[in-house]
């Protein structure tokens, strides 16, 4: 490799060749540039002696084995498949990871870094310094530049806070005070999470934010949310409701009127039914006698309905009307069984009326007897 590139030739592709032969060359070229950068960085006020860097570099020579030592700004395509490539790649990945971690931790702990009490910013810068000594490629150097931007922004903020006479607003203690107000229950907990050193442990009750919100309302002129007590209000529903009520009232009246009519009708039909039945039975009797004038009908033959006990009782009931009115006569025949026969003569009917009126017969008929 040494033959293919000179000390100042940064654009030729580098082979994997023996590293040792290049060693002193890249180191030498880096030395100047690196110390320049370091000094730029340190002019911000850290005041690190350049001498120590040289020492650092030499210590890390072994790590720089396969490095090409170019300026960070130029691009260097790395030839793949070099035998020492694996170790180098891993090493560079490690450096990149470390940078990213550092950047992340600075971003996460901004407030901590800004706090005038802590030296964390300085520590982070020192860590980056160390990392940078292992950097020889653009990718890592870009990360280093990113960190530099971050750190310098923080440095600027910190300087701003020092400049003015204002009392710095310490958001860390503010957060703690808020938690206290919200009713945090601080216990001796270990190992909450990775940031446990920057956050207090403790259990925050479920009404924490509600408590805070209640206090907050005193400082706002917020219009209370307006909600109708009975739900959202639309102007349409009352109208149909009235209409429905009116309609319901109308049929109601008709129904009521219909009811008495019905009742009346029913009562009439009851009476009519009875009378009708009576007449029907009388008609049957007369028909039967017309056909066979000499034989009175067995009472029970007439009234008993073999299929229905109730009907039988009804029949007896109807027949009794006929007897009462004198339209038929009930008498005992030779076997002492009651027979019934219609009364033919009108005069007889009239005469018997008063006489018959007083005779009453009580017939008991039970369900058992009927069945038989």
């Amino acid at each position: 490799m040494a033959e293919s590139d000179g000390s100042g030739d940064f654009f030729s592709p580098r082979g994997s060749g023996s590293a040792r032969s290049r060693l002193s060359l890249p180191s030498a070229s880096r030395n100047g540039s690196v110390s320049q950068r370091r000094q730029r960085r340190l002019s911000g006020g850290l005041g690190r002696p350049p001498a120590s860097e040289k020492g650092d570099e030499e210590d890390e020579e072994e790590e720089e084995d396969e490095d090409d030592g170019e300026e960070p700004e130029s691009e260097r395509p790395r030839p793949p498949g070099s035998s020492e490539g694996g170790g180098d790649e891993r090493h560079r990945r490690l450096i990149r990871n470390q940078y990213r971690e550092l950047i992340c931790s600075v971003q996460q702990n901004r407030e901590d870094m800004l706090s005038s009490k802590s030296n964390r910013l300085t520590e982070a810068l020192e860590e980056a310094n160390q990392l940078f000594s292992g950097v020889s490629r653009a990718r890592e150097a870009a990360l280093d530049a990113q960190f530099l931007v971050l750190a310098s922004n923080l440095g600027k903020e910190k300087a701003n806070e020092l400049r003015s006479e204002i009392t710095t607003f310490d958001s860390l203690t503010f957060a703690e005070d808020l938690l206290t107000f919200m009713g945090i229950n601080r216990t001796e907990t270990e190992g909450n999470d990775s940031d446990s050193e920057s956050m207090s442990g403790g259990y925050l009750p479920s009404n924490a934010w509600y408590k805070l919100g209640e206090e907050a309302e005193k400082y706002f002129r917020r219009a209370p949310s307006f909600h109708y007590m009975l739900g959202s209000f639309k102007s349409e529903p009352p109208m149909p409701r009235q209409r429905i009520e009116r309609q319901r009232k109308a049929p109601g009246g008709e129904e009521k009127r219909a009811m008495p009519a019905q009742l009346k009708k029913m009562e009439e039909s009851h009476q009519e039914a009875t009378a009708k039945e009576v007449e029907r039975i009388l008609g049957l009797l007369q028909t039967h006698f017309r056909n066979d004038p000499c034989t009175p009908i067995f009472f029970f033959d007439l009234v008993v309905d073999p299929n229905s006990f109730a009907r039988t009782v009804e029949n007896i009931f109807h027949v009794s009307f006929i007897l009462r009115d004198g339209l038929a006569r009930l008498k005992l025949d030779d076997d002492k069984l009651p027979v019934i026969e219609p009364v033919q003569n009108v005069e007889e009917r009239n005469d018997d009326h008063s006489a018959r009126a007083r005779n009453q017969v009580v017939i008991s008929l039970s369900h058992e007897e009927w069945r038989v």
Partner: protein
């Protein structure tokens, strides 16, 4: 008009005054009468002098006008439920409609009703696009809020964000805000047991409600944002109030923070 000047009436009185002035300017340049706004163009409210308004009023029955006033009051109250600011365009399109010519009178009366019945006032937070919010004019009473719901909790989150922004000099980067909230167990990536999607709540809901103003910082990658107070926050609370809140939490006097104290004093 009532002899006693009410806040709502003042606001609208000033509004009317501007119109009158503009109207007189137009008269001078055009020498013609008044422009009647197009029926379909609800972005323009016709300019009217009080006498013109009076004449228009007389052409409508009191009943009609009062009905429109009631509708407007209801509209404003319902619209305010979600705390989304109300646009004048919507008011014109949905409530006023054909009564545009007496718009100012309707709004005046609605304002009076809001004040006298509800203790609320209509406040303009955007004079260019005419956007309004409702705020309370009554002093807050201790132990007044019997209804504690999610809105209460959200207000708690909001006040800490507003406090942080103010105490840090009226603007803060989103990374700073989220780091601060992290210390209160609120993480943008995690579902919070009270707030749910906190990032959405802060970046979308609070912004929509005009409590916060979040603007992207140019030339940042990944994009970073700048947090500031929104116009609603400015109207519903004040720097002085927020400083008092911070002072109470930290058990110190507000004057402990010199520059913030001076700023708050200058602001009232």
């Amino acid at each position: 008009m009532a002899g006693r000047r009410l806040p709502a009436a003042e606001i609208w009185g000033r509004f009317n005054g501007c119109w009158r002035h503009w109207m007189s300017q137009r008269k001078r340049s055009r020498g013609s009468g008044l422009t009647q706004g197009d029926d379909e163009d609800f972005s323009v409210v016709p300019t009217q002098s009080p006498s013109q308004v009076q004449r228009n009023l007389e052409s409508r029955s009191q009943e009609e006008i009062n009905r429109k006033v009631t509708e407007l009051v209801q509209f404003l109250l319902v619209k305010d439920q979600k705390k989304i600011p109300i646009k004048r365009v919507d008011i014109l399109k949905k409530v006023i409609r054909e009564y545009k010519d007496v718009y100012s009178e309707i709004v005046n009366r609605a304002g009076r009703t809001l004040q006298q019945v509800f203790g609320l006032q209509m406040v303009e937070i955007d004079t260019k696009h005419h956007i309004y919010i409702l705020t309370s004019t009554l002093p807050r009473v201790e132990g007044e809020n019997l209804k504690q719901d999610i809105q209460t909790a959200k207000l708690g989150l909001l006040i800490v964000i507003l406090s942080f922004i103010f105490m840090k000099g009226n603007s803060a980067k989103d990374s700073a805000v989220w780091e601060f909230l992290r210390r209160l167990r609120v993480h943008p990536g995690e579902k919070h047991e009270v707030f749910g999607d906190v990032k959405k709540l802060v970046m979308e809901e609070f912004v929509r409600q005009k409590y916060l103003e979040i603007t992207p910082i140019p030339l940042t990658d990944p994009p970073e944002f700048n947090f500031q107070w929104g116009p609603r926050a400015a109207k519903e609370t004040s720097k002085k109030d927020i400083l008092s809140f911070v002072a109470k939490m930290q058990k110190k006097e507000p004057s402990f923070w010199i520059s913030q104290y001076n700023e708050a004093k200058a602001n009232t």
